[in-house]
């Protein structure tokens, strides 16, 4: 019976495992953490429908209760080899050895380290937080400045670590814009009297319902959008942030004081994706993500026969696309297995 080894138990890995197992394929799912879900574990609500991230995660986890799926939690692959018969040999950190006919890389993304945008003062100024940390605040239904006060004015900064040559990231992380809109609405629900700004370069509302959500954020939730990239932030005596942007639609520099600044941190190729690329000789795209063989027709195939990629290992994706990509990868793998 054919066997597939999946490296990475985030949403893509879980969904692909489920789809392959349903087709009668044996699946070995390797996840370095002690639970599956990956970055989804850090999220509270999903856009655009505000579904609980936990609910989706639970569905994905439940699907893994399948006789054809073997879970290897807290495990990392060591040096992977492809033998003469075309089988993949994957030694794990506990000394066991997996053998499979095909390999699926679903090692996902990592969050941009906001400290690299030094001028934004993350890690230095106490009321600068990331969008990931904000999700955690939503989880606890409490938005507070470090001194315990309720913020009266909040700024959400788009494109932190994305579309920025200064941090060597030319790419768009794609879902920060809609995350910003979603988080602005969630903030408004918790803080009806707080002034909330989004500072953006472009609003890239690419998914179904996204543009509508943006519109609603403006009209119903009174979120203010300023087209201008944050130039620098500094802390004043009250631990507020004094920011400088250009209001590009007015054509003037704009300065204002914020009680809290939220950085919409972008996505970068994860360490795991880079390790897999290194050990398997996979081509990387200029943005550091794993390069698909073809962007349209063979988007789950890599340059190595039998090695496939799904989810954010190959590009920044939202969950809708990640799950669809995982299903698509499962089909490509089925096709491959039939052929060998």
């Amino acid at each position: 019976m054919a066997k597939v080894i999946i490296i990475g138990g985030g949403p893509a890995g879980c969904e692909a495992a489920h789809q392959l197992a349903n087709q009668g394929i044996d699946v070995e799912l390797v996840e370095k953490n002690n639970e599956t879900g990956g970055n989804l574990n850090n999220w509270y609500q999903l856009f655009p429908d505000r579904k609980s991230a936990k609910d989706l995660n639970d569905i994905l986890k439940q699907n893994l209760n399948h006789p054809k799926i073997q879970l290897h939690l807290g495990m990392e692959p060591r040096k992977i080899e492809k033998n003469k018969e075309g089988k993949f040999l994957v030694p794990l950190s506990d000394g066991s050895l997996l053998e499979g006919d095909s390999l699926l890389i679903s090692t996902g993304f990592k969050i941009f380290d906001a400290r690299r945008k030094e001028e934004y003062g993350y890690g230095i100024y106490e009321n600068v937080i990331t969008s990931v940390e904000l999700e955690n605040m939503f989880y606890n239904h409490s938005i507070q400045m470090v001194n315990g006060n309720t913020p009266k004015r909040i700024g959400i900064i788009h494109c932190v670590g994305s579309r920025d040559e200064k941090v060597c990231n030319y790419h768009c992380s794609k879902l920060c814009c809609i995350t910003g809109v979603k988080q602005a609405i969630e903030l408004r629900e918790l803080l009806p009297d707080t002034e909330i700004f989004c500072f953006y370069m472009d609003m890239r509302m690419f998914g179904p319902g996204y543009e509508e959500m943006y519109r609603e954020a403006q009209e119903k939730y009174n979120i203010k959008f300023v087209r201008g990239r944050l130039s620098e932030a500094a802390e004043n005596l009250n631990k507020q942030l004094q920011i400088k942007v250009e209001d590009t639609l007015v054509g003037k520099p704009l300065r204002m004081t914020l009680d809290m600044m939220i950085l919409l941190v972008g996505m970068e190729s994860s360490e795991g994706s880079r390790q897999m690329a290194d050990t398997l000789g996979l081509n990387l795209a200029p943005n550091g993500f794993i390069k698909s063989q073809d962007p349209h027709y063979r988007n789950n195939n890599t340059n190595v026969e039998g090695v496939f990629v799904a989810g954010c290992g190959s590009a920044p994706m939202n969950l809708t696309d990640t799950l669809a990509d995982a299903r698509s990868a499962a089909m490509s793998i089925m096709e491959y297995i039939k052929r060998i």
């Binding site: 400290r115 890690g123 230095i124 500094a234």
Partner: protein, 355 residues
């Protein structure tokens, strides 16, 4: 503010600074407006730190003022700088240490240009040879003189006669560190601590017992663009930059400002007078201004040099409030006397700024 966050950034931006044997390049502005500064630097280097520094009288301006005001072409300034390198090479030195931030920026920019365009370097070598029959080696190490003081800040602290502490209350003195734009904004990796949170001056302040003020306009330029302030009609927006900084730092009640760029120090000192005359505003305590020091002057004060010997009487803003806080004794009578005890004349009293 979380200091550990800054320390992380400082770790990322360290640079190699030579230990000894420096070729010194003076600054046009520093020796004009702060006449004791460069003398104090050389004296400290030679007599307190026992370092070998050569101050070659044949060396000239780098022509940065002319270059930045579109009078001196790029090839000309490169050839002038090449001549400085030639003087350094002829003297048997390899470590170039300019006193001026404009010069430091220009030297850095020229070396980078030559690195990426060797054909330009070749052309300049030819120009220098035709003009002077000189040849040169590029410096092995280029550091601003404030980098040198930063490097030896702990050795200086060990010899310190005074600390940056208010002797009456024990409170660390609050210093504003103002970094010249061309120290690291053009090449962040060439500055200690980078461009956003430079550590070169704050490192000195911390090492000598003081505290550093991180005020919102800390990174803002003082307004000293050559082609701006040189033209009278443009000075209004030049001075507006310093004013913006003073307004932003004033709530923190700074005890002093220290700058590593001679232009910034001059501007921030003189503009306090200008603003007071134009608008009646002063930024220090009790009608005084905020004392502005070059880092050489600050170092010299910490090491116990006489304030008048290092030229502090030439400042527009009175330094006496700072001297009193540091517990430095000085003779008020001697302020406007030369070393022979003769009167050098007393400046006219400003209308609003207390002196």
């Amino acid at each position: 503010m979380n200091l550990e966050g800054k320390q992380q950034i400082w770790k990322d931006y360290q640079k190699e600074i030579a230990d000894d044997r420096y070729f010194y390049a003076r600054s046009c502005i520093r020796q004009t407006f702060f006449p004791g500064s460069e003398w104090a630097y050389l004296d400290i280097m030679k007599n307190k730190l026992a370092k070998d520094v050569i101050d070659d009288p044949r060396h000239t301006t780098c022509t940065g003022i002319g270059y930045h005001s579109d009078i001196v072409p790029a090839e000309t300034i490169m050839t002038v700088v090449a001549r400085h390198f030639a003087l350094m090479t002829e003297a048997g030195y390899e470590n170039m240490t300019p006193s001026c931030i404009t010069s430091f920026g220009i030297y850095t920019e020229i070396l980078e240009t030559w690195h990426h365009h060797p054909e330009v370097e070749e052309k300049i070598r030819e120009f220098l040879w035709k003009a002077t029959k000189r040849e040169f080696k590029k410096p092995r190490n280029l550091a601003h003189t404030s980098d040198i003081i930063y490097k030896f800040r702990n050795e200086i602290a060990a010899q310190a006669k005074y600390k940056l502490v208010d002797v009456h209350t024990g409170r660390p003195l609050r210093g504003v560190d103002h970094i010249g734009c061309h120290y690291s904004k053009m090449f962040p990796t060439k500055g200690i601590g980078g461009a956003e949170f430079p550590a070169v001056l704050s490192g000195m302040i911390y090492a000598w017992g003081g505290d550093v003020i991180d005020y919102p306009e800390r990174r803002h330029c003082c307004g000293f663009g050559f082609r701006q302030y040189l033209v009278m009609a443009n000075r209004g927006y030049s001075v507006a930059n310093s004013k913006k900084k003073f307004e932003s730092m004033q709530p923190y009640e700074p005890d002093f400002i220290v700058a590593n760029c001679p232009g910034c120090a001059m501007f921030m000192d003189k503009w306090q007078y200008t603003i007071s005359e134009m608008e009646g505003t002063t930024y220090g305590q009790d009608g005084y201004g905020i004392p502005v020091l070059t880092y050489e002057e600050l170092t010299a004060l910490v090491l116990g040099y006489d304030p008048w010997e290092i030229g502090l009487q030439m400042h527009q803003v009175s330094v006496e409030p700072l001297l009193d806080k540091m517990g430095i004794s000085y003779n008020p009578e001697a302020k406007f006397k030369n070393i022979r005890g003769e009167d050098i004349g007393v400046p006219k009293c400003p209308t609003y700024l207390r002196v």
